[in-house]
């Protein structure tokens, strides 16, 4: 077990290094001079030179890479060009909002998907099954940048039940969370259905029924619990998709999180901030996948690395 944990942890290091190197390389992919591009065409050569020095772009590439990496280890992501504040602080200030939205979306997804998946499995082949799976198919095919505005039109504009964007009470969270969680709900519902169906075929469920357990009890107490293992894994693995989904969802609903910060930073050509946001999102993604793998390894002792 310990060997698996250590190996999995060690394997993450080159991936993180690779991700960091990629993000470092980003600013050097800017066509022409990044400093000129940030300041615009109207900037004087002196201003451009000053910014180049501030960004460290006048140093040799190896030195730039070294200071980028050592800064990263210290949690120093440089300064935002637009705000003049440390990038790490800008991200930290919006962290809570992004996690709040991601967690709410996962909650919505689980709350919809698990009952739907169980119903579809128990009533396999009936109208309930077909309706649930059609709903799931729609959920998967609908891009969130369409679902979001549609929900806003229906619930904010026509019905007036919910606010259209921004933050405030819990009601502000509903539309973004549903928009972000819908695709995950669809995937989870299909997964739950397949998983429950598989368990229902197992002998222990049959044995429970033979002992006189009702159908509901056989499903809820026996089949469902075991079918949860793959579902939990999918939830963990999908957290990354939810996290990147926040970029679009936050933009749609003017939700002040890291995703929206990234898009704003891109529009202002604030490259240090862009790099910081991308690093933050991808590191979180890698760590979540690591965590899922480790948990899975603990849950299911059959899983080992060789």
């Amino acid at each position: 077990m310990l060997r698996y944990l250590v190996r999995r942890l060690l394997l993450t290091i080159p991936v993180l290094l690779g991700v960091a190197t990629l993000v470092f390389a980003l600013i050097h992919l800017v066509p022409g001079d990044p400093a000129q591009s940030m300041l615009g065409d109207g900037a004087s050569p002196e201003e451009v030179q000053k910014l180049r020095t501030a960004l460290g772009l006048d140093k040799p590439l190896v030195e730039q890479y070294w200071s980028f990496m050592t800064g990263l280890v210290r949690g120093d992501l440089g300064s935002s060009f637009r705000y003049g504040t440390p990038v790490a602080r800008e991200i930290r200030d919006r962290l809570f909002r992004t996690f709040q939205l991601a967690m709410a979306a996962m909650l919505v997804a689980v709350a919809i998907a698990i009952p739907l998946g169980i119903l579809a499995a128990v009533f396999r082949g009936t109208a309930i099954d077909h309706a649930a799976m059609t709903l799931a198919l729609i959920g998967i095919s609908m891009p969130n940048f369409w679902l979001g505005p549609l929900l806003a039109i229906l619930f904010a504009v026509y019905l007036g039940w919910l606010p259209v964007s921004g933050t405030g009470g819990l009601t502000h969270l509903v539309l973004p969370a549903v928009t972000l969680g819908a695709a995950l709900a669809a995937i989870l519902a299909r997964m739950t259905r397949a998983s429950v169906l598989e368990e229902l075929r197992e002998l222990y469920v049959l044995a429970a029924r033979a002992r006189g357990a009702s159908r509901t009890r056989a499903v809820v107490r026996h089949a469902f619990r075991n079918s949860l293992i793959p579902v939990v894994t999918i939830i963990g693995l999908q957290f990354g998709a939810v996290l990147t989904g926040t970029i679009i969802t936050e933009t749609i609903f003017a939700w002040p999180g890291v995703g929206r910060l990234l898009i704003q930073a891109i529009n202002f050509r604030d490259y240090p901030l862009v790099q910081g946001c991308i690093l933050f999102i991808s590191f979180t993604y890698v760590m979540m996948n690591l965590l899922t793998d480790l948990t899975y390894g603990l849950l299911d002792p059959r899983i080992r690395y060789d």
Partner: protein, 264 residues
């Protein structure tokens, strides 16, 4: 399912090709006096914020979506097949290096890398294709690498080698054809992915730039008119969802045909 997918995709291709014939309106012609006009007999999908016919723009946007999809899928599948077969066939250190690169790129959420690349390269149609291909080839490479690893041991490959066939010939004539069916399935599903990704980038203002009609930019414009003109949002989104569904149906259906083991 495969039929439904085929019909949807065919209609989309026809609509993209015949767009100008199907509607009397120019997708770029503005009529500011009747901007945001709701759907009517003359304009079944209504007019947008500059008074342009939305149906004409959706038909024209189909060209962009399909073109981007085709370009991304072609570039990434060819690149992925090349890299994957080299890694799988030669193995050893070459495979190690390629596999580590694949690991890093897979560790990155795809759309995030695309956003990052377009952010630094600048928003344009070409850069969208570049960015999506940079993330796209990895999937094909991994797929083909696995196939190549297996194919290497097949008798007919061993026989070809024994007969003195060179590595290049073995890879192109013997290894790649065994991977091709799986690549075709992946490419079909990849069309759906590329279309969504292009629309997402354009929606965020990082893709196709106005006035070129892209479904993503049309949706972006619709966001400012949720209250007064919801048709700006409804129709372009519907077009994306239906076309994506079509490619997904087609891809799933093809997969069942290619791999009969999967059919229950």
């Amino acid at each position: 399912m495969i039929r439904v997918g085929f019909v949807i995709v065919s209609i989309a291709v026809l609509a993209a090709l015949l767009g100008p014939v199907l509607t009397p309106y120019d997708p770029a012609a503005q009529d500011l006096a009747s901007r945001l006009e709701a759907p009517s007999l003359a304009h079944p999908f209504g007019l947008d914020e500059l008074g342009r016919d939305i149906l004409a723009r959706i038909l024209s946007g189909a060209q962009i979506s399909l073109l981007v999809g085709l370009a991304v899928v072609s570039v990434s599948s060819v690149l992925g097949m090349l890299v994957g077969s080299v890694a799988g066939y030669f193995g050893g250190r070459v495979d190690d290096v390629i596999s580590r690169i694949i690991d890093v790129l897979m560790a990155f959420p795809g759309i995030l890398l695309a956003i990052a690349l377009v952010a630094v390269l600048g928003p344009s149609l070409t850069n969208v294709v570049i960015a999506l291909s940079v993330i796209g080839w990895v999937g094909y490479a991994r797929l083909v690498r696995g196939q190549a690893l297996r194919a290497r041991e097949f008798d007919f490959v061993q026989a070809a080698r024994a007969l003195g066939a060179g590595s290049r010939r073995i890879v192109i004539r013997h290894i790649l054809p065994t991977a091709l069916p799986a690549v075709v399935v992946q490419a079909t599903l990849g069309m759906a992915g590329a279309i969504i990704a292009e629309a997402s980038l354009s929606f965020l203002g990082l893709g196709v730039q106005p006035p070129t009609p892209s479904w993503g930019t049309m949706l972006d414009a619709g966001r400012s008119h949720l209250f007064d003109a919801p048709h700006l949002t409804i129709f372009p989104g519907l077009a994306i969802a239906v076309l994506v569904l079509g490619f997904n149906f087609l891809g799933d259906g093809l997969r069942d045909r290619v791999d009969p083991k999967l059919v229950k």
